[in-house]
Amino acid sequence: MSGHSEDPVAEESKRFFTFFNLSMFLVAITGVEIVIIYVQTFESASIIGVLFATSIIKFFGVVWWFMHLRWDKILNTILFLMGLVIALGTYFAVIYMADSHPVVEKFEVAKIEDAWKADHSYQASDYVLQGSTYFQAKKDHLSNKSFEPKHWKKVDGVPHAITFRITGGADMIEINSKNPENPYFHLSHPDGVEEIEESTTALLATTASTADFRIKVRSEAFWTESQ
C-alpha cells in the first residue's frame, strides 16, 4: 500500500503526536514571520533572509512529515525533487535576467567656446579660448584686466564638454568617438545608482559634435546605445 508495515494502527497513533507538534511549530514560525515585519527595526536584507529561511523550514516540514516522504520510499521524494529543482533553477535564472532597462536621457558633446574674460574667477584646468587658441588654467586664480600667460598653458586640441544623464541604473558606461581621426574613449563603472548625471571635459584633436560620439550603457542584463 504505502509501504507501511504490519501494524498501521499503532504506527498512525504514534504519528498523531508528530503531526500535532509539527503543526504547532509551523504556527509558531508563522507568528515569528508576522512579528518580524511589524517590528520595523530590522534591516530589510535580514528580514528577507529570515523570511526566506522560515519559508524553507515550513516547506520542508510539511513535505517531509505531513506528506509522509519520511516514511515512504525514496522514489516519491525523487519525483518531487525533479520538479522542484528544475523549477527553482529555471526561475532563479529568469528572475536574475529580469532587469531594469537603463535609458540614456541626455547625451551631449559640445565644444567649449568660453572666451577668456577679465575679472573672472577661474579654477585650475578650466579651458578658455583666447583668440584662436585654447588655454588651460594652471591653477585657481582671479583674472586681471588682461590675459596673463603665466596662469595659462597652451593646449593642443579642442576641449569639449561631454554631459550625459542615465536613468534606470547602469553598471558600465562607455563613450567612444566614431571618428578615427578624433579618438576618444571613456569607460566608467558607476555604483548601480538609479540615476547618473555626469559631465566631463575631454581634449580632442578636432572639433566634434554629439553625432560623432557613441555612448553605450549596460546594466546586468541589458545594454543600450545612443547614436
Partner: protein
C-alpha cells in the same frame, strides 16, 4: 515492503515493480510538475515587482492596499486545515471512520474559511477607496501588479477550491457505508494534494505579502 497476499486491506491494489502504488507515483509526479506551474506564476509576479514597480508614473505602495491581519489569519487557517488533513489520513489508515469524517469535515471547514477570506480580500482590494487594485489598474491608472497578484493567488485559490470539492466527495462517500481502510490510499492521495496547496501558500505568503513590508 508489503506482501500482497498477506494483507486483506490491500487486495484492491495491484502489486507494482517498486512497491509504491500507481496512484501515489502519479500524484508525486503531478506535484513535481505543479512546482513548475506555480514557479512560473510566482516568478512572473517577482519579475514585475522588480522592473515595473512604477508604471507610467503610477507608483504602487501595496502596503496601502494589503491587509496583513486578514491574510495572516487566513494563513493560520490553511495551516490548521493541513493538520486536520494529516489527521484524516491517519484516521482512515486506522480504520476509524468516525474520526475520518470529523477530520475531513474540519479540513473542509478551514479550507472554506480560507477561500472566504480570499474572496473577501479580493473584493476589498478592488473597492478599496482611493486605492482600488483591479486586474489591470491601480487607482484607476494602468498597472501590472493586479494582473500578477490576482492571477497568482486566484490560481492558488482555484487549487484550494478543487481540493475542497474533492474532500466534499470523500465526506459524502463516507456516509454511504462503503468506505473502509481499502480507501486509505485514495484519501492519502487527496491529502498529498491538499498539503501541496498548503506549501504553495507557505511560499506565496512571505514572498508576495510579507516581503513588501521588508523593502
Amino acid at each position: 515492503m508489503s506482501d500482497a497476499s498477506a494483507h486483506a486491506l490491500e487486495h484492491h491494489e495491484p502489486v507494482t515493480s517498486t512497491g509504491i502504488p500507481n496512484k501515489k507515483v502519479l500524484m508525486w509526479a503531478f506535484l513535481g510538475s505543479d512546482c513548475m506551474f506555480f514557479g512560473t506564476l510566482i516568478s512572473t509576479h517577482l519579475i514585475y515587482r522588480k522592473i515595473s514597480a512604477t508604471v507610467g508614473g503610477n507608483f504602487l505602495d501595496i502596503r496601502d492596499v494589503f491587509d496583513i491581519e486578514l491574510t495572516s489569519f487566513s494563513t493560520f487557517i490553511l495551516l490548521a486545515s493541513s493538520l486536520f488533513m494529516a489527521l484524516a489520513v491517519s484516521a482512515i489508515h486506522k480504520g476509524n471512520l468516525n474520526s475520518t469524517r470529523w477530520m475531513l469535515f474540519g479540513t473542509i471547514v478551514f479550507g472554506s474559511i480560507f477561500l472566504a477570506c480570499q474572496v473577501y480580500e479580493f473584493t476589498h482590494f478592488v473597492h478599496a477607496p482611493g486605492n482600488e487594485l483591479t486586474l489591470s489598474t491601480y487607482r484607476g491608472e494602468p498597472h501590472v501588479f493586479g494582473s500578477t497578484f490576482y492571477v497568482l493567488t486566484g490560481t492558488h485559490g482555484t487549487h484550494v477550491a478543487i481540493g475542497v470539492f474533492w474532500l466534499l466527495g470523500w465526506l459524502a462517500y463516507s456516509f454511504t457505508g462503503k468506505m473502509s481502510t481499502a480507501h486509505a490510499l485514495d484519501v492519502e492521495i487527496c491529502g498529498l494534494y491538499w498539503h501541496f496547496v498548503d506549501i504553495v501558500w507557505i511560499i506565496i505568503f512571505p514572498v508576495i505579502y510579507l516581503m513588501e513590508y521588508a523593502m
